[in-house]
Symmetry: C2
Subunit: 277 residues, 2 copies
């Protein structure tokens, strides 16, 4: 008998769930709806949204938008500059920035204005981080774990991408504490992320193989993969059930398989993968 | 030929230097002068002050003081409660709290009032730490390096005794970063302390023996001794030249001897010790 165990806290977090639901609702109203960038890092969801009249706007909004088009700011958030651009192009901007991310925007702006140098722990190419940096005048120092070669400011305000690993945060703050005179450190790692990572960590120690479901561009899913791979050498990273098919033969030799999924993986995809296994 | 090397930054720091100078000046005016507790952790200085009309008040000021006596708040600072007691007993309270310590008082009061739990890195029995704690309503958590068993608050304000070691500070902030949601960390270790420690560290690596001069109750001198002892097994901890005499025979075998001194060791004592060597 084969056992498939789904990790606790797998899948959509609060902010993503809210954004996806709202986007489908807006699309179903019939008017043209755009999201500025893919709504979430999940191709299947993006495809389904397209079927529901919600399209992706990749470039400068000024080019494509008409004033009465609806345009969605996704849960990752946007820089102040881009929010302004959207509002100049459309009268119907729907801000679905995750409230936890908006809170980071508020923190970095306030501290930049108070004279603190902002340090963001995260991926400098990730839209969430680019958005946050925009709110502190694009002057933040962006680091992966604090071990980088950078000059620690005397007065520093530290925040983290919501999907960061706690160990990177601790590593950054340890570095800052040795050199800064004053630190204001806001651990903005989302609780959902931490819980999801803990559940994945625990589950990956108890099974013979792990399947991690999520977009390859998804920061939080990649971290789940790393955590799982650390404990369980047979960890498979797939985007959906379709992609999992190539491994089903290989997976047959395991009797206990764990499944987890990133914040941008909808329940239907998790369900399909489990059924396939 | 024998070499005696004095460490850079040895001896009085700014706050202590100011307090000692002012106390002698007040004593020489002829009126009765008291210090609330020994002015500095150095018996020779305390004796010299006595000769200059400056006495130590150990107990409740209400008992001993007359309204027109002058009473000095020493550089370590005092709790708000004790400041009030002194002011109720004397009309001539001279506050010689080190301005760096007063700054810590301001920080902990402000943050206690803002709802942060204050964590003080330091020795809970040291007058500086007791004074600081008084300014945050005696509600601070007092730790030696953060590895203790205590509940890390969600919102925490951390400060350090001015004479702390940087490694203990880093250790505390690392611990806090793993568990707190928001940290405001003020590295209040006095620059003089750090410089003195670095100079002692460097010197103790280059000599055959080290002499550390300072009071046995002096927190910062004890730390100098520990740092020196780590690099140089032949480290001697003495309070003055008189105490050094017992080791002069033993010290004759070394041709390179380093000398350092704590923040409460006056220049004349350092000079005497060097002359003896």
């Amino acid at each position: 008998m084969r056992e498939i165990i789904l990790a606790d806290n797998a899948g959509f977090c609060f902010g993503v769930s809210r954004a996806v639901k709202e986007a489908f609702t807006l699309g179903e109203k019939g008017k043209k709806v755009f999201t500025f960038g893919e709504l979430i890092h999940n191709r299947d969801v993006v495809e389904k949204l397209k079927d529901s009249n919600v399209e992706v706007l990749e470039n400068d909004p000024g080019e494509a938008l008409k004033k009465d088009d609806t345009v969605i700011i996704r849960s990752h958030g946007l820089s102040e500059e881009n929010v302004k651009k959207l509002k100049a192009s459309s009268d119907n901007v729907v801000d679905l920035t995750c409230p936890y991310v908006s809170n980071i925007h508020r923190i970095v702006r306030e501290h930049a204005d108070l004279g603190y140098t902002v340090v963001i722990l995260g991926d400098k190419n990730h839209p969430e981080v680019m958005g946050i940096n925009g709110w502190c005048y694009n002057k933040a120092i962006i680091v992966r774990n604090g071990s980088e070669d950078f000059r620690v400011p005397l007065k520093v305000c530290a925040v983290a991408q919501t999907t960061e690993k706690l160990e990177n945060w601790v590593s950054l703050i340890t570095r800052l504490s040795a050199e800064a005179k004053e630190i204001r450190a806001f651990n903005t790692i989302c609780a959902a992320t931490g819980l999801r990572q803990n559940s994945t960590e625990e589950l990956s120690k108890k099974v013979e193989a792990m399947v991690v479901i999520g977009g390859k561009h998804s920061s939080n899913t990649t971290k789940l993969y790393e955590i799982s791979r650390n404990n369980c050498i047979n960890t498979y990273f797939v985007e959906n059930a379709e992609e999992l098919k190539q491994y089903t033969e290989e997976l047959k030799k395991y009797s206990r398989i764990g499944v987890t999924a990133g914040a941008s993986t909808p329940d239907w995809i998790i369900k399909e993968a489990i059924e396939l296994l």
